[in-house]
C-alpha cells in the first residue's frame, strides 16, 4: 500500500465506544433473510478478483510455447513447474531477502524515531514540539516520487548510490508523516490520570515511554509496523533510481527487470509475480487477524 492517511475526528465518544467494539456476538438484523442483490454483487466481485488470479496461476504453469495464442481461461493441459524453476534460479531468493531487509530496517527506523516524536507531540506543549508535529502533518500528501531527482543527487554525492541504505533511508523518511499521525492518534487515548499515577511513583519520562506509552499504544504500533512494511514492500521508484546492480536489487525491481529479461517469456514473468505474492500470503494466513486489524487502524478504527 502506498497511500498516506489522515485521521478523522472520532464520531463516537470514549464512553460509547466501549460497547460495540470487538467481535460482538449480537446477530445483526440483516442476517435474518437472504439478500439476493448483495449475493449477485458479491459473486460478480468474486469473479473480478478470482479470474485474474486464476489466469495468472494457470499461465505460470504452462510452458512458453503453449501459452502463446492459447485461450488463457482454459486450465493448462500439462502443467509444468519449469517457469518457477527459471525464476528461482534468477536471483529471486536474493531479491526477496533484500526486500525483507529493507522492510525490517524501515520499520525499525520509523518506530525508533516516531515513537518519541509522537510522545512529545502529544504530551509536550512547547512551541518546538508543536512545530515538529506540524512539519510532519504537512508531509502527509507529498508523494515520494516528487523528490526522486534531488534525492538521487544527494545519494550520489553521499556515495550511497547502488546500496540498500540508499533505498532504506528515504523510504523510512516518507513513511514517517502517516506513522506519526497514527501514533499520535493512539497516544491521545492514554488518559491523564495514568500519567499522573506513574508520576506519583516518581517515574521519569523515559520509564513512562517504556512502561506506559508503548504498552498502551500497541494497536497503533502494529498499524505503523504494517503500514511502513507495506511501503517498503511496494517501493519501486527509489530502488529503480538509486540502485543498479544485482546486489541491492529488491523484489519489485527484480520483477520489473524480469520483463526485459524474460521479455519473450510471459509464463515465467507471471510465475515471478505468483512467487512474489507467496511470502506475504503466508504472513496473511498466519496473522490475518493482526494484519486486518492493523490495516483498519490505518483508516482510523
Amino acid at each position: 500500500m502506498s497511500h498516506g492517511t489522515l485521521h478523522r475526528p472520532r464520531p463516537v465518544r470514549a464512553a460509547e465506544r466501549r460497547t460495540p467494539a470487538g467481535p460482538s456476538r449480537v446477530r445483526r438484523h440483516w442476517t435474518r433473510r437472504p439478500n439476493p442483490l448483495a449475493g449477485i454483487g458479491s459473486a460478480v466481485w468474486l469473479a473480478v478478483v478470482i479470474v485474474p488470479i486464476y489466469t495468472m496461476i494457470s499461465i505460470s504453469l504452462t510452458s512458453q510455447d503453449k501459452a502463446l495464442g492459447n485461450n488463457a481461461l482454459k486450465p493448462p493441459t500439462d502443467p509444468t513447474l519449469d517457469n518457477y524453476n527459471t525464476v528461482l534460479h534468477n536471483g529471486f531468493p536474493h531479491f526477496l531477502l533484500n526486500t525483507v531487509i529493507v522492510a525490517a530496517a524501515v520499520v525499525a527506523i520509523v518506530l525508533v524515531l516516531c515513537l518519541p516524536l509522537s510522545y512529545v507531540a502529544v504530551r509536550s506543549r512547547t512551541f518546538w514540539s508543536g512545530s515538529a508535529f506540524r512539519l510532519f502533518l504537512l508531509g502527509v500528501a507529498i508523494p515520494a516520487q516528487a523528490v526522486v531527482v534531488p534525492l538521487y543527487l544527494m545519494i550520489a554525492k553521499l556515495n550511497l548510490y547502488d546500496s540498500l541504505v540508499a533505498v532504506i533511508l528515504p523510504t523510512a523518511a516518507f513513511a514517517m508523516p502517516v506513522s506519526v499521525l497514527i501514533l499520535t492518534g493512539t497516544l491521545r487515548d492514554i488518559s491523564e490520570e495514568m500519567y499522573e499515577a506513574m508520576a506519583l511513583d516518581g517515574a521519569s519520562s523515559t520509564r513512562m515511554l517504556f512502561q506506559l506509552v508503548i504498552p498502551m499504544t500497541k494497536g497503533g504500533i502494529s498499524t505503523v509496523v504494517i503500514y511502513s512494511a507495506l511501503q517498503a514492500w511496494n517501493n519501486f521508484l527509489f530502488p529503480l533510481i538509486f540502485t543498479q546492480s544485482d546486489g541491492p536489487r529488491v523484489l519489485t525491481l527484480g520483477l520489473f527487470n524480469y520483463v526485459s529479461q524474460f521479455g519473450v517469456n510471459i509464463p515465467a514473468l507471471l510465475a515471478s509475480v505468483v512467487l512474489s505474492g507467496i511470502p506475504i500470503f503466508a504472513v496473511y494466513l498466519v496473522a490475518r487477524r493482526a494484519l486486518v486489524g492493523g490495516l483498519m487502524g490505518v483508516g482510523g478504527k
Binding site: Y152, K157, L160, Q244, D246
Partner: protein
C-alpha cells in the same frame, strides 16, 4: 549467482554519511591514472551477453590482463532501462569503467561532460584495432570525426521479413517497389491476412517504418542533417511524405487493428507473424534468432527476408540500410585502470570473439567476418545480412540512438501519436521541428 560484496548494503560511503552531512562533493570513487585494479564493464543484459561474458573470462585469464594488473567484472544491466541506469551510474561515484552504448547521440552527453576516453589515436596506432573492423561501422559510432567506441556486437540492420509459405500460397513475390507492396497488401487483406505484424506497444518498431520511408523518399541526407543538430531538417518534404505514407498504411489496415496493444518485447508481434496471422514483419536482424528460439519450425521453413522496397521517384537507393550498425564499448575517462580497459577492448577484434558472435547467430563487424560466416546457424541469412551492410551506400543509425536523448523521447512520443491517430502527418512534422 555470484557472491555479493558487502558494499551493496552499506554503500561505499556509509562513513561519509556520518562525517559529511553536507552535500560537499565526496570526490569520485575512482581516481584517474593507470594503477592496477579491477574494472567494471556495464553491458546490456540480453541473451547476447554470453559473448561478452566469455570475452571477460578469456581476458581475465590472459597475459594482457596480468600486464595491466587488472581484471574485468561484467555488470549485466537489465535491458529496458539501460540508458537511464547508465546515466545515473555515470553521475555517481561508482561509475563503470567500460560501458556498452549505441554510439552517436547515446554518448554525446558523456563526451561533452568530458567523461569519455578519446580512442582515435589509440585506434590509429594499433593495427589490431585499426584494421580489425569495417571502417563504415567504426565511423558510424564516431562523434565529430573522433572515435569513442570499439564495435563489440553483431550488426543489426532492419530487414523486411516475410512468410515464404504464405507468399507461395497466395502466389506473391517479395516486394521490390512500394506499389508492389501496396498490391501485395490488397491481396493479403482479401485473404483475411494482416499484411504486417507490428509491435506498437514498444514504439521503436513503428520508428523503423519512418526511418526506411524517409531514406527511400528523400535519401540518407535528410536524417543526416537532423542528426547533426539541425531540427529544421524535419521540415524536409520527405518527412511529411513518409508520415503520410505511413498514415495511409495504418488507415488501410496494413497493421491490423490491435497493433498498439501488441509488443515486440514480450513476444506478441513475433507470435502474430509466426502463426501466420500476419504475412510480413519489418524488424531488426535479431528477429531471426527470436523466431529460432520461439518458433524453430517457422524460422527454418517459412521465414524469408528481403530489402525494404524502393519508393518510385524517391531519392534513396534500395541498398541503403537503417538500423544499428553495431554496439560499442566506450571507456570512462575516470577509470582507475585505463591500460586494462584498453587491453580488454582489443579482444573484440580477435578471431575468437568474432567466432563467439557468429555462433550466437550474430554477424560481427570485424573485417575477418566474411570467412567465418559458414559456421553460422544459418549461413544463408548471415551472408545476406553481411553483404547487405557491406554493400550499403549508407547505413543510417536508428533515429532514437542517433539524436540526443532529450529529443529522442519526445520524438518517439510523436511517432506513437501518429500511429495511434492522435496526430496528423502535418502536426507530426510541426511538432518535430520544435525539438531542439
Amino acid at each position: 549467482m555470484e557472491s555479493y560484496s558487502r558494499r551493496w548494503f552499506l554503500g561505499a560511503g556509509a562513513t561519509t554519511l556520518v562525517s559529511a552531512a553536507g552535500l560537499t562533493a565526496c570526490g569520485s570513487g575512482s581516481g584517474s591514472g593507470g594503477s592496477g585494479g579491477t574494472i567494471t564493464a556495464f553491458v546490456y543484459g540480453d541473451d547476447a551477453v554470453k559473448v561478452q561474458a566469455k570475452a571477460v573470462s578469456r581476458f581475465n585469464a590472459s597475459a594482457a590482463a596480468k600486464k595491466a594488473e587488472g581484471k574485468v567484472k561484467l555488470e549485466k544491466v537489465p535491458g529496458s532501462d539501460y540508458p537511464a541506469k547508465l546515466r545515473t551510474a555515470m553521475g555517481s561515484p561508482n561509475a563503470p569503467d567500460v560501458f556498452f552504448n549505441w554510439g552517436g547521440g547515446s554518448i554525446k552527453a558523456y563526451k561533452e561532460a568530458g567523461q569519455l576516453v578519446d580512442l582515435t589515436d589509440t585506434i590509429k596506432s594499433d593495427p589490431v584495432l585499426k584494421d580489425g573492423f569495417l571502417p563504415s561501422v567504426l565511423a558510424a559510432g564516431a562523434l565529430g570525426g573522433r572515435n569513442y567506441g570499439i564495435p563489440m556486437r553483431g550488426m543489426q540492420p532492419v530487414i523486411l521479413f516475410y512468410n515464404k509459405t504464405l507468399f507461395a500460397e497466395h502466389k506473391l513475390q517479395p516486394p521490390t517497389t512500394w506499389d508492389h507492396l501496396l498490391d501485395i497488401n490488397a491481396k493479403l487483406k482479401k485473404a483475411n491476412i494482416t499484411p504486417f505484424a507490428l509491435g506498437g506497444a514498444d514504439i521503436w518498431p513503428e520508428l523503423m517504418w519512418l526511418e526506411y520511408l524517409v531514406d527511400r523518399i528523400g535519401g540518407p541526407e535528410v536524417f543526416d542533417k537532423i542528426k547533426n543538430g539541425d531540427s529544421s531538417g524535419w521540415g524536409d518534404p520527405a518527412v511529411l511524405k513518409a508520415a503520410e505514407t505511413v498514415k495511409q498504411l495504418i488507415d488501410d489496415g496494413a497493421f491490423g487493428k490491435g497493433f498498439s496493444s501488441v509488443a515486440y518485447t514480450n513476444g506478441g508481434a513475433p507470435a502474430v507473424f509466426a502463426k501466420g496471422k500476419a504475412a510480413m514483419h519489418l524488424m531488426g536482424s535479431w528477429e531471426y534468432s527470436t523466431q529460432l528460439g520461439k518458433f524453430p519450425d517457422f524460422a527454418k521453413k517459412d521465414l524469408g527476408w528481403c530489402a525494404f522496397p524502393k519508393y518510385e521517384g524517391g531519392a534513396g537507393d534500395i541498398r541503403n540500410v537503417v538500423g544499428n550498425p553495431t554496439n560499442y564499448w566506450s571507456v570512462n575517462a575516470r577509470t582507475s585502470n585505463k591500460d586494462a580497459a584498453l587491453a580488454f577492448l582489443r579482444d573484440c577484434a580477435s578471431e575468437s570473439y568474432a567466432r563467439d558472435l557468429v555462433a550466437n547467430g550474430d554477424i560481427p563487424t570485424t573485417s575477418n567476418a566474411a570467412k567465418l560466416l559458414d559456421a553460422s546457424p544459418n549461413p544463408g541469412f548471415a551472408k545476406f545480412q553481411y553483404q547487405m551492410v557491406q554493400q550499403a551506400p549508407a547505413f543510417t543509425l536508428s533515429w532514437d540512438q542517433a539524436v540526443d536523448p532529450s529529443s529522442s523521447t519526445p520524438m518517439l512520443t510523436e511517432i506513437n501519436k501518429l500511429f495511434v491517430g492522435k496526430s496528423t502527418p502535418a502536426r507530426f512534422v510541426a511538432a518535430l521541428k520544435e525539438l531542439k
